[in-house]
Symmetry: C3
Subunit: 307 residues, 3 copies
């Protein structure tokens, strides 16, 4: 039962519970009209203690497309709520007005504290560099959509794998499925942290390999999950000049990939995917953004117990 | 008839008119579903020239839960409306788009001027340190709910009684009911102003007493209305150290109170009510916040003439 | 067919297409109830990269009064959307969530770029000093309403005609109708630019005259379109002192005008129309603001193909 449950960590829900959400998201995607009034009379509160327009829009559109409504704030200045008031008091007041909360907060753990004191379900919409579970659900739902399954798959993750929150969550979440193999493409300085290797991959007997250049591994991949590499994260200028192009996906590199390999990206992109790739039918990142809305619709419908 | 009327001062409405609002608020609270569409097609404009997230949320949730919608701004920067334009012009333009306005403004009297030029009802949602009439309505409705009546009651008001806007409004508003007695607990420096004593209490033959320590009077009270005492308002450090604990409500002091004495607070609290009190069934401040939404629903339904 | 079309420049639509919009706006104005649900389930995204509360309110109220909903941001700070992301990416993500976009942007041409990449119609809600087509549509609709026709009319435009965006757009748009005559009243320094004279008025054989004082030409006008003259735009103090009153419309000057001459103004006004004029039945600027909402309702209904 997901009714009344909060979602703070991507691993809060079992794979069966995720399947419940993905199945509903699928139904909604195929027949949005049928679900367009199921949250009538319900209110989502978007408490964004730091701005994140894309995520906020996705949550708000999700609730509106279910027939519900939205109250909220979109940046710290406008939230007198926060002034001198504890998170626990704020959430108890917001519980009086809303039926479900999406909270974005610069401090790790803030949504978790909110969930402890809330009478209504709290969704972590990103807490610092920590967790962003609805992004992970979006990624899983998208992979399942294009591959029909979350098992038997080789996933390339490319970019800054050291600090990239979404990639860590994706690896953890995918490690619960069968016969998943990871190909991790990054500069040496930005490799996946040891604890992910030891406590997630090794511990669960997940196959993985590491690579420094995208072009060396393209042909193996079923999914390529791109993220950004920031110049200032390289240790020296030489390495940056030598390697930077290896983390930019372009039409040339797409020629090396399978015909049914899909490219995902959490967005926003800066220059890590060349615009020329957008027209390739395997470029799936904007569709992924749309899937994020359907996943959030399904999640909130389940939390509110209307489906 | 409340249809089309503005609410600028808590005393704008007669006690009979307030009863009309409270009766409707009561009905809505008990059967929200029945009222969930009565404002369909109506628009509330929330013009918040200074941020007050809690109040804004309460108004917006109120209108949404009546089936209406909301436009608005939540802080001065985003209101190009205000740039070089008079309040009277702004309100006339907003009147073109909305059906009722809730205005928060740092300047005393701004909502009153707005109401003079508006084609639609204006609600003062707080004008500087001046008035905040929907807070007073919330307080009265809450007292009436827990006591069944606004007469025959001993109300303790505790904290900074000199500058506390909500307390002054509460005393004025309660002075219209029968057999009300006030116990006013504050440091000497922060006693209720002379004009409240002379022009409200004495003039209306209201019984009152003043006290310096909460623990001395707890047992007499039917309602305890807590507010904050800011350290910087004390005249000297010694007094502050000697007295500060007397204005913090904790489980110990609650033992001195009647079994059916309810604790109210306009929120946000800082530390004037210890968290341990939250679990006491007499702690009523979060329910009071929820009542604020029902009162605003009833108020706007009356002003719009839909009930 | 206006379905799916963007509106970037006031001249994007033919006069026949404008008539379609104005006819629908007229129907909505006369019977709003009948149209109050035609956009149910649709979402407008208001992307305001610079604040413009009045315009934003008009768009949002328009969509809400058609039964639709709104997501959006109202100022640059809150738009993480913009950080490092191209307009083309932003609009493609917003296209996932919304059905129509109103974009305000300080950079000329930004809405045009957005429209090129958008899957959904984009409305330019003002791009720098460049275009603001829904203001022009509002002006034309209002003139048509009060005059029954957009032909056979003498329009006075008064104020800063050199930099005034709305006036340039109005002249261009009106030049497509028959027997329109312009009287352009401004200080010498702020006359209509040469290219408007040559490429719009002369080229289309439009009659026009220029005047320095409002009082000299009042009696000829069917419509007086007022805009502001900023003191700092005068070349010298002497001229300013000599002329300033000639650009302030007051009751005295209104006496010189025809009985059925209507005064329009895009708002906000500062002091270019004296408050005493507001009570004159010919003062039409607040009604014009309301017409702006009806025009936007009709425009979006057409773009969404629901009417």
């Amino acid at each position: 039962m997901l009714k009344g449950r909060s979602l703070i960590d991507p691993m809060d829900f079992s794979t069966e519970e995720l399947d419940e959400i993905f199945d509903l998201a699928h139904l909604i995607k195929n027949n949005p009209e049928e679900y367009s009034q199921i949250c009538k009379g319900r209110i989502l509160a978007t408490l964004f203690y730091e701005p994140s327009t894309r995520t906020r829009f996705s949550f708000e559109a999700a609730m509106l497309r279910l027939g519900g409504n939205v109250i909220g704030f979109s940046e710290p200045n406008s939230s007198s709520v926060s002034k001198g008031e504890s998170i626990s008091d704020t959430i108890r007041v917001v519980s009086c007005y809303a039926d479900v909360v999406a909270m974005r907060h610069p401090k790790e753990g803030a949504p978790k504290i909110a969930a402890m004191y809330s009478d209504i379900p709290v969704i972590n919409a990103g807490d610092g560099g920590h967790q962003h579970p609805t992004q992970t659900l979006t990624d899983l739902f998208t992979i399942k959509l294009v591959r029909k399954s979350l098992s038997n798959i080789t996933i390339g993750v490319c970019g800054d794998l050291k600090f990239g929150r979404t990639v860590h969550s994706l690896i953890k979440a995918m490690s619960r499925y069968e016969n998943v193999k990871f190909v991790m493409i990054s500069p040496k300085e930005l490799k996946v942290p040891e604890y992910i290797i030891n406590e997630v991959l090794e511990k669960n007997n997940i196959q993985y390999e590491e690579a420094e250049k995208l072009e060396d591994v393209m042909e193996k991949l079923d999914i390529l999950y791109m993220t950004r590499v920031q110049k200032e994260r390289f240790f020296n200028e030489e390495d940056y000049i030598r390697l930077k192009d290896s983390y930019i996906l372009d039409a040339e590199k797409m020629k090396l990939a399978k015909k049914d390999m899909f490219v995902l990206h959490p967005l926003p992109r800066v220059n890590e995917i060349a615009y020329e790739v957008d027209d390739d039918p395997r470029a799936y990142y904007f569709k992924q953004a749309k899937n994020g809305m359907y996943v959030r619709m399904a999640l909130m419908a389940k939390q509110l117990g209307v489906r």
